[in-house]
Amino acid sequence: MSTLNVRVWRGTEAGAYQEFEVPRLESQTVLDVVTYIQRTLDPSLAYRFACRVGMCGSCAMTVNGRSRWTCRTHVDKVADGARLEIAPLRNLPVVRDLVTDMAPFFDKWARARGRFRGAATRKEDFARVSPSSTQRRHADAGIECIGCAVCYSGCDVVSWNPDYLGPAALNRAWTLVNDVRDVENRERIRAVAGDAGCHACHTHMTCTERCPKQISPTAAISGLKRAAALAALRGDLDRD
């Protein structure tokens, strides 16, 4: 039976890789490997998972340098020979081992006004939104995001600019900018524009490369750039 040589990050930001030998099995996923280590070799290993079938995004980690869902990553696809390197997501504080603190990620989501604000009451009729309208198609292209932070982890601008809201928050803001029922878009565009917002994106497109839902935050951010330019020229950004 063959084995995998697996290096796993232990500790916080100050830590080190620890090596384990794990039996290699057919159709094994990286999550299977981490689970084997924690259950059989070292119960003190901390890691997150939930659905283990590619729906929740909890198991996101950095595998051989790339951020991905470990439950959906077959070892055969990523193993460098028989070697694996497993680390926590980048750009987030490390709680312990493979677990990151997701609070900064969701704080930025809130700062980007990534939540819906409507004005209708129960007395109004339903809003009629055609699925084939341009705005709805733009929104639909981004609403499947489950907030797994793989894109945020891969983004170098997040690393270089601590205030940068990041691809997920900006993608969510774009879906709401395209929601005809939302009444807060003037404030939202002010929230996502500027050096800490969409204008800091340099189209590296690592987010688009890595998104497990095939969303393109780059396209959403480009949309926000256009919207912000229009808002600036219209005078909507005048009050700060």
């Binding site: 601008v157 270089w160 600019n161 601590p162 205030d163 002010r190 524009a193 500027g194 050096d195 800490a196 917002g197 204008h199 800091a200 340099h202 750039k225 912000a228 330019a229 808002a231 600036a232 020229l233 950004l237 005048d238 700060d240």
Partner: protein
Amino acid sequence: MSAERGNVRIQVLLWTAQRATAALLAVCVLVHLVTIIYAVRNGLSAAEILGRTRGSAGWAAFYGLFVVAVAVHAPIGLRNILGESLRWRGAGVDAVMAALALALVAGGLRAVYAVVT
């Protein structure tokens, strides 16, 4: 919050100015590249260059516009790079970039003047 959240409107206008000058510079650079490639045939001489540019209002206007566009475009880009690579942000780097813009205008227009008169 850090200095980044300062003035969003100005940051957006800087970005817009850089993209607008980018579009203008694409045309300028295309003309410049074609001119260069044509001019280096059979060697390059001062007489040949100056023969083309001296007394020409057209070349003066073209290169004058080119210089101003570059003086707007380059410092804004450099500002991003300094902020991201050296973590140098705020009023200091903004002032240095403004000075760079002025230096490029001065040096560039001097060069245009030199070849047009």
